[in-house]
């Protein structure tokens, strides 16, 4: 046993002695660079959001297992193998700070972290799993042979009732039924006199329940600490980072459009018809119809077009062509041109504004006379159906879209619309109108080429457009 062991080393993934999964029992006393603080957390957040997406799509356990494995592999690796474990632990604790602050945030974080833990645990080998159970001081007792003989008939019955193989060699554990509510609720376990008889392969449930309950309490404590001391102490350093993180959009920001999606004015109507998401189609149609849009609509559509690759000159020409039919070109030059230039960062404080993400659009509140916002959220059922029909959505996909709308999964509704209109699947899901457009263009190009283009998560999240800061290394996309 080494005498000198720094904290850092002891948390590293020394693969044989320490399991690769952490239980996050206590915050490590590691020094963290400020950049790592934010970046590690953002990477982990991508994993959690990916899990959230998978769950709301109703993915089955096997699919979730693959998804988690992929998300973890893509986002949580590090060049230095020793750093992998640290990144895991640091990112978890940073996100605890971010997500401890309200009841809703805590609930979400608890749910995603528990799911993450559950599938990572499943992917571990049984030795590692046993080690984790010991770490947790789980109150399980392996069955003695005599006890086993007494209940083996029932144990085999239960195994058959849930479609699992039951071999006489598998280890069983006796725990109080309160420890395994999930197994009791689904009758996946034999219970007698208050004890549940849990099979080795169900052990994940025990561990996950412990993990969940521990994290739940920890979050409440973290919140108290945050409110009472950390938030003030860190108001110039960590607090702004923490407060921004929970609402961040994590995909590419489309502020620097790629060549392949640049659009010229002459093509714009055709592209609008084939590749715009519904929100932008609607704004575009209204603009063409009434030759005017109010401020919210101008911002949403204008920035979108910028992200699509419309140059400033083309944009000015475009908006002037429309608005001059309504308010005259003089008024356009006087009142509206300035703000278009402003959006392109050519006026005032010269911020180059980024196109709005779905999250931002969905949360906007259009008033009378406005046409911006998310139509899946704002349109009446009748109007939405009519609009989708005009886009070419058939009757059956229409019902699925409406189902998502009823459950308030607006982005999923848009994704299903994409799939119905283009005839391809969209695995990454829609979370930005410009992403919709670029996927649409890609899908149509590949139709032209005659090959199908499977879309993976890394295609969206690993986009070279991502620019999070000087130390972030963009990963290259892996779309064929």
């Amino acid at each position: 046993m080494e005498i000198v062991r720094s904290n850092r080393k002891s948390t590293a993934a020394a693969a044989d002695s320490v399991p690769a999964l952490s239980l996050y029992r206590s915050a490590p006393s590691l020094e963290v660079r400020l950049e790592e603080f934010e970046l590690y957390a953002i990477d982990r957040l991508r994993v959690l959001k990916g899990i959230s997406d998978g769950l709301s799509r109703g993915k089955k356990p096997d699919e979730m297992e693959k998804l988690v494995s992929e998300l973890w592999r893509v986002n949580m690796r590090h060049q230095d193998a020793n750093e992998v474990m640290n990144k895991d632990i640091i990112s978890h604790f940073v996100l605890r700070l971010v997500y401890c602050r309200t009841e809703d945030l805590r609930k979400w974080f608890l749910s995603m972290e528990t799911t993450l833990f559950r599938y990572r645990f499943r992917l571990e080998g049984s030795e590692s799993q046993r080690a984790l159970m010991t770490d947790f001081n789980l109150p399980y007792k392996p069955l003695s042979h005599a006890e086993y003989e007494g209940v083996k008939e029932e144990l085999s019955q239960v195994a058959r009732s849930i479609g699992l193989p039951h071999n006489a060699d598998s280890m069983f554990f006796k725990v109080h039924f309160e420890e395994v509510p999930e197994l009791v609720a689904t009758r996946k376990v034999f219970i007698q006199k208050g004890y549940a008889y849990v099979a080795m392969n169900q052990v994940a449930s025990l561990v996950v329940t412990q993990f969940r309950s521990h994290l739940s309490k920890a979050l409440v404590l973290t919140n108290r600490k945050w409110m009472s001391s950390i938030r003030d102490q860190e108001k110039d350093r960590l607090t702004p980072i923490v407060e921004a993180m929970s609402s961040s959009y994590l995909g590419p920001d489309y502020s620097q459009p790629k060549e392949s999606t640049e659009i010229s004015l002459k093509d714009i109507d055709q592209v609008a018809n084939s590749s715009f998401p519904l929100c932008m189609r609607h704004l575009f149609e209204k603009l063409r119809e009434t030759h005017h849009l109010k401020h919210g609509g101008r911002m949403q559509l204008g920035l979108f077009l910028k992200g699509v690759g419309l140059s400033l000159d083309d944009a000015l020409a475009f908006w002037r062509a429309e608005f001059s039919q309504n308010v005259g070109s003089e008024r356009f030059d006087k009142e509206y041109a300035y703000s278009i230039r402003h959006n392109y960062g050519k006026e005032g404080k010269r911020t180059d504004y980024t196109p709005y993400s779905c999250q931002k659009i969905i949360s906007s509140t259009p008033g009378t006379g406005d046409h911006h916002g998310c139509p899946y959220r704002n349109f009446s059922e009748e109007n939405l159906r009519a609009a989708l029909r005009r886009m070419g959505v058939g009757e059956r996909p229409m019902e699925e879209v409406m189902e998502r709308v009823r459950n308030r999964h607006y982005q999923l509704a848009c994704t299903l619309t994409f799939e119905a209109v283009h005839g391809t699947s969209c695995d990454s899901g829609v979370n930005h109108p410009n992403q919709y457009l670029s996927l649409s263009q890609r899908a149509m190009q590949s139709k032209v080429r005659g090959s199908s283009c499977p879309l993976t998560i890394s295609a969206v999240i690993g986009d070279p457009c991502v620019d999070l800061g000087p130390t972030h290394q963009p990963t290259s996309p892996s779309v064929g």
Binding site: S161, I162, G163, A185
Partner: protein
């Protein structure tokens, strides 16, 4: 004291007339309602002198009263038995509900700001089974009515659940209570049960859940897999199979005519089997056998057809049908959360006048809801007693309830439920106390 009541000859067993009710209740709470027993129960041993007793315990229990005119008062609490008794006698609630034991006295909840300070800490595990949930399978009554043909559904439910609660979950202090009209409540009072979290309660409730929605107006049960969970097997073999075949089939004439047997046939997913059977039964319609024979005979035919069929999905059809008709139908929401209120035993049901008396699960076959004493009957008995006392100078027992029909129910409550419970509570309190003492002694050791 003589109460203004019809003389015995004219008294009808089910009378409960508006207007009299409040006055009757006053006498009921004055002389019959077992205040002291309810207090002892709700104290779980904390009303003793042992240093381990928590004097604040009883005061943290929520009571809620429903008064005349549907006025509803929640978050009441009392610090001792006398306070509780006086409040009940004074307010004469039409209904008393028992809530959870909270972290602080319910009336003081607003004084504590912030989250998580006013929160339930203990609550019995409770279940509620209501006959109206069985309306799709009983043809004798519907809605609020109950009769001797359909009440056995409750009996079957009690048997299934009581066995599971004892044998599977290891609980022992279980009280079954008649809800006063058409159902039963179950109070599981073991310490382990009272301390279950909402999530754990939900898990227990889901363990008992077998229905997955409706199909063709009938509750749908679906058993996939080559075997059933031992709990379901035991329930089927010990209770439900024989109940269905020997009791429900004939008493509800489930297969006697087309309208009824179609409902059962609708549960079978194979068209060829059902049409074959239907044809057979249609052609037999005119034979003159007694009703009982028809149901039993047809069931045997159906069972044979299903069990010998090679079709997939029919393997468990017989069990699915039996469970659809007879398995307990719980109101799951009642059990899932600690803060759910439930009516106290020994209340009087305002619509029937019947007292919510305990039911002995070991003799639940004998229970007859139509023979449960009503408020007016009991008051009549008290009157008779007064008359007798006025005439003779025989020594009557101290408690007036002991001479009424309520006596055996209160006695049962005490001997079968309360005493064993309190004994166990005492042991638990003393046990944890000595353990704590030992612990602190050890830690002071070195």
């Amino acid at each position: 004291m003589e109460i203004d009541v019809c003389p015995p000859e004219q008294r009808q067993p089910n009378m409960s007339i508006e207007g009299f009710h409040a006055d009757y209740l006053k006498v009921f709470y004055g002389k019959l309602f077992p205040h002291a027993d309810i207090f002892k129960w709700m104290s779980y041993g904390n009303d003793g002198k042992h240093p381990a007793c928590d004097q604040s315990y009883f005061g943290r229990r929520e009571f809620s009263f429903t008064l005349d005119n549907d006025i509803y008062i929640r978050f009441q609490s009392f610090s001792n038995a006398t306070e509780m008794e006086n409040a009940i006698k004074e307010k004469c609630p039409f209904k008393i509900d028992l809530g959870a034991v909270y972290s602080v006295d319910p009336p003081k909840r607003h004084a504590y700001a912030g989250n998580n300070v006013f929160t339930p800490v203990e609550r019995e595990l409770v279940f509620d089974i209501d006959m109206s949930d069985y309306d799709d399978v009983r043809h004798c009554c519907s809605g609020a009515d109950v009769c001797s043909d359909c009440w056995p559904l409750m009996t079957a439910a009690i048997k299934v659940m009581d066995t599971a609660l004892r044998d599977d979950f290891g609980f022992s202090h279980i009280l079954w209570v008649f809800s006063g009209r058409r159902g039963v409540h179950c109070w599981v009072c073991d310490g382990r049960a009272r301390r279950l979290s909402d999530e754990q309660r939900s898990a227990v409730a889901d363990y008992f859940r077998v229905y997955k929605g409706h199909e063709n107006g009938l509750k749908k049960v679906s058993f996939v897999g080559p075997a059933l969970h031992p709990f379901l097997v035991r329930s089927y073999n010990d209770v439900l199979k024989s109940f269905f075949e020997e009791d429900m089939l004939p008493s509800q004439s489930l297969l006697a005519n087309e309208a009824r047997y179609q409902k059962i046939l609708d549960l079978i997913p194979d068209e060829s089997t059902t049409s074959e059977i239907r044809d057979k039964w249609n052609s037999n319609r005119r034979s003159s056998i007694s009703k009982e024979d028809v149901n039993t005979a047809r069931w045997e035919q159906l069972k044979h057809a299903l069990q010998s069929s090679k079709q997939k999905g029919l393997r468990r059809c017989v069990e699915e049908i039996v469970f659809s008709y007879t398995y307990p139908r719980l109101d799951i929401e009642v059990s899932k959360r600690m803060n759910h209120l439930l009516k106290a035993p020994f209340c009087v049901h305002p619509k029937t006048g019947r007292v919510c008396v305990p039911i002995d699960p070991r003799r639940c076959d004998e229970f007859d809801p139509g023979k449960v004493p009503t408020l007016s009957e009991l008051l009549g008995e008290l009157n008779d007693m007064d008359r007798v006392r006025a005439d003779s100078s025989s020594g009557l027992p101290a408690e007036e309830w002991e001479r009424t029909s309520l006596c055996r129910y209160i006695r049962f409550f005490r001997s079968s439920f309360l005493q064993p419970l309190l004994k166990s509570c005492k042991e638990e309190l003393e046990g944890t106390y000595s353990a704590k003492l030992r612990q602190s002694k050890d830690s002071l050791g070195w």
